[in-house]
Amino acid sequence: MKNPQKPLRETNKKVRPAGWQIVAVALFLFYMLLPIVSTYIFSVATRWDRTILPEGYTLEFYIRAFQTSYFIITLRNSLILSAATILVSLIVIVPTVYWVHTRLTGFKPLLDVLMILPFGIPTVVLALALVQVYNVPPLARSPILLIGAVVVYSMPFMYRPVSNAMQAIDALTLTEAGQSLGANVFQVLSKIIIPNILPGILSGSLLVFSTVFAEYTLTSLIVGAKFKTFPLLLVEYTRINGNIAAAFSVVSFTIAWLVSILILWVGTKGQNGATETIQAR
């Protein structure tokens, strides 16, 4: 019960931020944006090592970057890795989250611990452990092993949005309603639960995508040059040609921004969906 009478926020008190707030936020913005903006400018600068501002502007490095023989292959590999990870993640996590929210609520603490675990394992340690255990073909240093590693590493990113969405729809009641109308477990999942948690699944998938697309450590340490992804190409070029590396960095930053905007968009849609469901009840 909310007090409907709470006085309106004292609007006449604070209309503009205080000076120290402006300074703090401005410095924060400066720190956060300068490296990125500089990289964008560097990627189109002809020469920028003797002056404050670039001496000229060109698109040459983008043309050269996109013509690099590995560009398309690494991009493709990154997309394959992301897609495979999302797929495995969905298959493993969505049904599990569903069971834990309905029939097996007692397992929720265990699941929460298993989901925080990857944060406690440095990626290099995970890579070392996997490489040591699975050291015989066909698994040894294979893309399959990599996918397993990346799924573990990105699991929390899928788990949280899906779990929150599941929480918001009251999966147990919906399941019982569905069952009382004659639906079996499979029908309940495909026709009721999944459509209702779709925003959560989408944000989870996008989060996993942006994490995996930028993943460097596991890829380079587990498979290395055998399955080169985009971040590996980028690191390679930071040592070969700075301008082209800048162009690659811009590609990487831009994808990250786009995915974030998509997540935000899906997120607000999802929230609306959730409040609508609650209001409909």
Binding site: R16, L34, S38, W48, G120, T123, L128
Partner: protein, 288 residues
């Protein structure tokens, strides 16, 4: 399906978690256990031994632990102090729209770790970077070689880049959890602003601040790609050392790598454990 069979279905419900548990076992639990086992078993004699841990007592490895702890601790503390300050500025910002934009920015930038970030810092603070040029032009001050982006100081700046927004994201809900009524109750009971922060505000924030220090510490301790791109061999860090051992660049006893990995697991586990406990406490308080 006969009714009796359906009933037994309930008792074995947990079977439905088997695929997930198997997956975790295969790619998370078993490899870690294997690692621990490898670190305490002598390869030749198959006997229990602590020799691998004793072998860590070597300047190279000690240094890497020291450096890792130093950079993680430093960037965690700097991140918590400035992140809290910036977080408070954002929290008190009167426009909801601006707050949302700044939160989204923090969300994106905290994930900008790795090679692109490292390269971006080379662009601004490298030998011929923008800021390096700026100092030279306007202050006639040569940043290099006192400062170098390829050193501890440079890496610190790069780490703070993703630590700061992480703290902002962590502390904002904590500020939002300080209810206006607490402030007003304290006031009506005779407390001034300073007394409110001393007795209620800071203690209520404390779990979140502790959670912040530990999470940021773990975040920096486990980082690899940024360090690999920037400092590579110029600075010894735990993650870099373990990386070399996997890549086989250093032909050393793999058991030393395992011992190193286990020690860093313990450090990380402690941090994440404290973080988790602090988060639970913070959440419990914000509920009441």
């Amino acid at each position: 399906m006969p009714l009796s069979k359906r009933k037994t279905g309930y008792t074995s419900d947990w079977v439905r978690l088997v695929p997930f548990l198997l997956f975790c076992l295969a790619f998370e639990v078993v490899p870690i256990l294997f690692l621990i086992r490898g670190s305490i078993i002598d390869r030749n004699t198959s006997q229990l031994t602590i020799q691998h841990y004793l072998n860590l007592n070597h300047p190279l490895y000690l240094n890497s632990f020291l450096n890792s702890i130093k950079i993680s601790g430093l960037t965690a503390i700097v991140g918590v102090i400035f992140g809290t300050f910036i977080g408070y500025a954002i929290y008190r910002w009167p426009s909801r729209r601006i707050q949302e934009i700044l939160m989204t920015l923090s969300d994106v930038t905290t994930n900008f770790a790795g090679a692109p970030l490292a390269f971006a810092f080379v662009v601004i603070l490298g030998m011929n970077g923008v800021i390096t040029q700026f100092f030279l032009e306007y202050f006639q001050y040569e940043l290099y070689p006192t400062f170098s982006i390829y050193s501890f100081s440079g890496l610190t700046l790069a780490y703070i880049y993703f630590q700061l927004p992480l703290m902002v994201l962590l502390i904002l809900p904590a500020f939002a959890g300080i209810k206006q009524e607490w402030r007003e109750s304290a006031q009506s009971l005779g407390a001034n602003a300073f007394q409110f922060w001393r007795h209620i505000g800071v203690p209520v924030l404390m779990p979140s601040l502790i959670a912040g220090v530990t999470l940021l510490f773990a975040n920096a301790f486990g980082a690899y790609a940024t360090a690999y791109t920037l400092v590579e061999a110029k600075l010894s860090l735990v993650t870099l050392q373990i990386g070399y051992m996997i890549a086989g660049e250093v032909r050393k006893d793999p058991a030393i790598g395992m011992a190193m990995a286990v020690v860093s697991l313990i450090i990380m586990g402690l941090s994440i454990g404290i973080y988790q406990a602090a988060t639970i406490r913070a959440r419990r308080w914000s509920k009441s």
